[in-house]
Symmetry: C2
Subunit: 315 residues, 2 copies
């Protein structure tokens, strides 16, 4: 494959950053690859792991020197500090991108500290596992996953194209949408579900002592479906909730209204209303499956990600 | 295997009832098996499918004649009507059990219509798939699953023992607990999660039109974890919610309080509080995995039911 860029810099070597490094090395997506991380321990681990062509340096400033494309893989809360550190060291025409779960914050925190002649093209690969750290990175993490690119208004077309091609080279299906739309959509598809999963787990926890560990034992009844996402990194999610606050609290209010409607129907023994509210879900779920299968190809992905049709506890 | 009972009657040939029929036939758990269903169409299908030793009859009254054990596999809302129908036709010493997701309602609705010399021993196998109908039944549906048996106070020990042995013969791990405790535990592990899943799906639906189908496309972000259980049978769930109303609304209130606490911390930008609330979840999830693996054996089950560790979207 023809490399997408000459020199790539990745700031941050957690799960995502080190997965990109592995994939870039494996598929020669860049000719040169420089990586760094704020933690000396992580830098040491990465150097020891020997991630392909990656060269480890000790600072963001050093990493971005002469880089054509810089991908920030740091916690959302550190965007501002990072931009301040690297801004003066970027070459003219460099592209700065990221992988964060919220996009408004990228613009808000990074843009003010980047030179005029640098292109900010935020992105969000919808991929990950429950693990963290450079040892957990996977070269195929982004294959057959969506990557949402959110170009700013008036963005340089070539710069946007480069970021799109970069993610396609990593195996992703790329879609572009405005920053604000991304944050609204993700509030519903990801942030709210996580908020709820965390809470329901907490509720279960508080009851557990009283109900003699039964909750854990019988968690296959639906409770467990929440636990996968409830195990996510608390720091990362703190930053997501705080940095997409408006959209998150907005959908939360909608959710509370919907939940109240269903709870009220139960309270009033309104059998018809309950069935009505529950039935909508079933039709839509079929649509989710269809859309997923049409939109994202890969038999392997289907197997891994398919709704557990055989033998889940579906009581 | 030595049969557990001589003559077994199963009322209802949906997913659960027909799965029991298959398993009983396969493993000779009863010497004689009589099944029925309220729907002529279902009876016809079952007869055509030829489920092992099962003999299809046209009514509950006919089915329970001379039966040692009767397992009711009908919607929870039909318990009363069923008990009224079969009460007079049960032989002395017969055991009546069920498979419903709520246990208080079984006692409330069936007990008044059953003769004194008949033993009511409610049970709840924690098993199922998203499918329904007699064609979807599986002989191994209950293998390595929990089955909770809820003996009434002063219950006949032999009758309880028979029901426990029955479910062990079907491959389940059996646990006994009081009726009320079952309903509280299931409210948290199953009923509340379903309530929430239905609601969050509804919230997503309402937004979808506005957000151009993106919600469905990007649902792997956590939203999809809810959709499996949101696809459940609306009629069944209406009956569960209505028949475990007190416990469900009780945990719902707890959940709302917890959610409000987290939402409030986000609203106030209380970073520390957010991390504190999110961190508890992570520790507990590990405990869930451990408890599940200790308590329920079967490599096959582990594979099927294991938390999707490889390549879920865990953003």
């Amino acid at each position: 494959m023809e490399p997408v860029v000459n020199r790539l810099a990745i700031i941050g070597q957690g799960l995502i950053g080190s997965s990109i490094a592995r994939a870039v090395s494996l598929h020669r997506i860049a000719r040169e690859l420089v990586v760094t991380d704020a933690s000396p321990k992580v830098r040491k681990t990465v150097a020891e792991l020997g991630l392909g062509i990656a060269k480890v340096v000790d600072s963001g400033a050093e990493a971005v020197r002469d880089a054509d494309l810089v991908v920030a893989c740091v916690p959302v809360g550190q965007y501002g500090a990072l931009a301040k550190e690297i801004g003066a060291h970027l070459k003219a025409g460099a592209i700065v991108s990221d992988v964060g779960s919220v996009k408004g914050a990228v613009v808000r925190d990074m843009l003010p500290h980047l030179p005029e002649n640098v292109h900010l093209v935020p992105a969000h690969p919808l991929a990950g596992t429950e693990n963290s750290g450079p040892e957990s990175g996977l070269a195929d993490l982004f294959e057959n996953r969506w990557c949402i690119v959110t170009p700013l208004e008036g963005a340089d077309a070539d710069a946007v194209e480069t970021v799109c091609r970069f993610w396609k080279a990593l195996g992703s299906e790329v879609e572009a949408m405005p920053v604000e739309q991304h944050d609204k959509v993700l509030a519903i598809t990801s942030h709210l579900p996580h908020l709820i999963a965390f809470s329901i787990f907490h509720t279960g926890l508080k009851n557990e002592a009283a109900l003699q560990s039964e909750i854990m034992k019988y968690s296959a009844g639906g409770f467990r479906d929440f636990t996968r996402i409830a195990s996510s990194n608390p720091i990362m999610w703190r930053d997501i909730f705080l940095n997409n606050k408006e959209a998150v609290l907005d959908v939360l209010k909608q959710f509370n209204d919907d939940l109240s409607e269903l709870a009220g129907a139960i309270e009033k023994n309104d059998a018809e209303k309950i069935v009505e509210l529950l039935s909508t879900s079933r039709l839509t779920r079929r649509k989710v499956i269809e859309k997923e299968h049409i939109s994202v190809t890969a038999a392997k992905r289907d197997q891994e990600d398919a709704f557990p049709i055989v033998r889940p506890y579906g009581d």
